[in-house]
């Protein structure tokens, strides 16, 4: 019994990481109805940028703080230079552009950093844990990760629901043509959205690298976990995305508890089951 409680607890913590992966994707879809197939690779890019900075002698904390705005700029540029040119009713061009981008980022990382597995060195935090009694302990790093996921969602919701620019975001999301009539430049809103999404990718990249090994090839799998979290949670709700991430995380640790080879498979199966019984997710808000 304790083993199961421990498994579910670890799953919830893992879900924190997955919802960090998913938050950027959720924001992009909510505002632009766009799916970024390079999302997972951009998370891995974030991890590698932090790694590159620390290997150049920059302290880890400074590297993390610097990479977040850097990724924001990358996202802003990506949207204004590439993706804004492909807006329209046909979803094929933006989808294929991000697919091409995924291949470029993945192979660019492979060429620059080789296929070796890496890990971010977080010192004593790596193995620190809090005993909860009864032989159950939770890692400090996974806990910080879950709390960061919550903090990111709280601050994004703060921006979206309490600021003037947030109102512009929501207006663009609700009806882009009417928003334009009200004087909102949807293209710059889109660029800001992609910037925010990639800034969150940088945060996710840090926890990816601090919690487990990574290499250039693992991006697409992160995209799938993120996507599953968004759909399970229901489109348009960031708290739903957090719940979705936790569902995927718990499904994976429970699967792994039964048979280690079933970890990834049970996450996917949980997603398919939710899709069959609640096609609009657990907490749907947006109509599309």
């Amino acid at each position: 019994m304790l083993g199961w409680i421990d498994t579910v607890l670890q799953g919830i913590l893992l879900g924190g990481l997955y919802s960090l992966y998913a938050t950027g994707l959720s924001v992009i879809f909510g505002i632009m109805r766009l799916v970024n197939l390079a999302h997972g690779d951009l998370i891995v890019l974030g991890a590698f940028l932090i790694l590159a900075a620390t290997s150049a002698g920059v302290p880890l904390a400074v590297a993390c703080v610097a990479v977040v705005p850097l990724m924001f700029v990358v996202g802003y540029a990506l949207q204004s230079v590439l993706l804004n040119r492909a807006l329209g009713r046909n979803i094929l061009p933006p989808l294929l552009i991000t697919f091409g981008l995924s291949i470029i980022v993945q192979n660019g990382l492979l060429e620059t950093f080789s296929a070796d597995t890496r890990r971010l060195d977080v010192g004593s935090l790596q193995s620190a844990s809090l005993p909860l009694g009864g032989g159950i302990a939770i890692g400090v790093m996974p806990l910080i990760c879950l709390l960061s996921a919550i903090a990111v969602i709280v601050s994004l919701n703060g921006v979206f629901y309490r600021t003037a620019v947030g109102r512009a975001f929501r207006a663009t999301s609700d009806d882009v043509e009417i928003a334009q009539l009200m004087g909102i430049n949807n293209r710059s809103i889109y660029a800001l959205t992609m910037g925010i999404a990639l800034a969150v990718c940088a945060v996710a990249g840090f926890f990816l690298g601090a919690r487990a090994n990574f290499d250039p090839s693992i991006g697409p799998a992160r995209l799938l976990y993120a996507f599953e979290a968004v759909i399970i949670g229901g489109l348009g709700s960031l708290w739903g995305t957090l719940a979705g991430g936790i569902v995927v995380g718990v499904a994976q640790t429970v699967g792994a508890h039964i048979d280690p080879e079933w970890q990834i498979l049970s996450g996917h199966v949980a997603f398919l089951i939710v899709l069959v019984i609640r096609p609009r997710g657990l907490f749907p808000r947006a109509v599309d």
């Binding site: 989808l95 552009i97 697919f99 091409g100 291949i103 060429e111 080879e261 997603f271 069959v276």
Partner: protein, 369 residues
């Protein structure tokens, strides 16, 4: 197609009009295609084994590209999970040929049926997702197939397995080829694989071509223009898309089975490879021109040349392909064939209907479908 809205300059004369699809170029293509195909069938008599193996790859990729173009271009079902059906077909081949001991050629056909059977529940689940989310949904399905097959120990589990030589050399028709060309076992296998690939490529082409020219093709272009309007004129959108998805899966499964019959070795990572069976295929269709019959043919030739000269660059080659796809999507979304056909106003395999009035073409811009 109807006569509504047709007006002529002279109200007294009865307008005479007909609906046509054939063009002079398309008739010429059909006439030239017959000796061309016969030549391709006769090729093993004088071509080297290497050339046959290269053409095998070209034909199988062409078939996959033609199918993806139908799915994504004509039916609007943008899938990045077609490797699910390549892999299921490939594994079904190994199950039938190695475990059940059936003839490999027969197993290729049965593999198509297995892929179709997998596609039915897959479609019922992923069709709940719309647009871009459908794309990632198909990818999840493919990952589920890969992870499940990695658990099947009889088929090699996670590391994979090889096709035993006695199974591979028991193929129906192998003795015929051996005697016809007076060649030894492996060479005869190459010739037979080549013929099967050629037949599958032609079969896929005819399937897609006939489908697009049928009432289902008309329904598809109506859906492409407006789903709601198509539905209101009596098109069953779900049924049409479902039919295309499953049919495509059957054909993709057969191509996948043939590819791995030739490779004679299978593993979950190779059979369900996103890069090999979806990224390359998308690249071929995008560079050639999506939603046309000619596009994948042009695309596969360009892709083959790029692969031949640049594949040695490794990751840089993939970066180049990705970059090329992005540039094309931005500046020439209809691909090379789209640009050529617009510039010369030519169509070799027309699927659209044109209105011809009193011996002249009424609408030069070929009314859509």
């Amino acid at each position: 197609m109807g006569s509504g809205g047709l007006t002529t300059a002279d109200p007294g004369a009865t307008p005479r009009f007909a609906v046509a699809r054939a063009t002079r170029a398309s008739t010429a293509t059909l006439i030239l295609a017959v000796p061309g195909i016969l030549l391709l069938f006769a090729l093993p008599a004088f071509a080297s084994r290497v050339l046959l193996q290269e053409l095998f790859y070209v034909f199988t990729m062409l078939a996959l590209a033609q199918l993806w173009s139908l799915l994504a271009g004509s039916a609007g079902l943008i899938s990045v999970g077609q490797q699910a059906f390549v892999g299921m077909g490939a594994y079904a081949l190994f199950a039938f040929a190695v475990v059940a001991g059936l003839d490999p050629v027969l197993s290729v056909l049965l593999a198509g049926a297995v892929a179709g059977l997998v596609a039915i529940p897959a479609a019922l689940i992923v069709f709940r997702l719309r647009g871009a989310y459908f794309a990632i949904g198909t990818w999840v399905v493919s990952e589920v197939c890969r992870l499940i097959l990695a658990q099947v120990k009889q088929l090699g589990g996670g590391t994979g397995t090889s096709l035993p030589t006695d199974v591979a050399s028991s193929m129906i028709g192998l003795d015929f080829v051996r005697n016809l060309f007076a060649v030894r076992g492996p060479a005869a296998r190459d010739i037979l694989d080549y013929w099967l690939a050629l037949m599958l490529a032609i079969g896929t082409f005819l399937l897609v071509y006939r489908l697009l020219r049928s009432r289902h093709g008309l329904a598809l272009s109506a859906i492409g223009d407006s789903e709601a309007a198509a539905e209101s004129t009596g098109v069953d959108v779900f049924r049409t898309k479902f039919l295309i998805y499953v049919l495509t899966a059957v054909a993709t499964g057969m191509v996948g089975a043939l590819i791995f019959l030739q490779k004679a070795r299978i593993s979950p990572d190779a059979a369900f490879s996103l890069i090999d069976w979806t990224a390359y295929v998308i690249f071929i269709v995008v560079i050639g021109g999506i939603g046309t019959m000619e596009g994948p043919i042009v695309g596969v030739v360009i892709f083959y040349l790029l692969q031949y000269y640049l594949a040695a660059l490794g990751s840089w080659y993939l970066i180049l392909l990705g970059g090329l796809a992005i540039v094309l999507m931005l500046f020439a979304p209809t691909g090379v064939w789209g640009v050529v056909s617009r510039f010369f106003n030519v169509s070799l395999f027309p699927v659209r209907r044109r209105l011809i009035v009193s011996g002249g073409v009424a609408d030069k811009n070929e009314t859509k479908s």
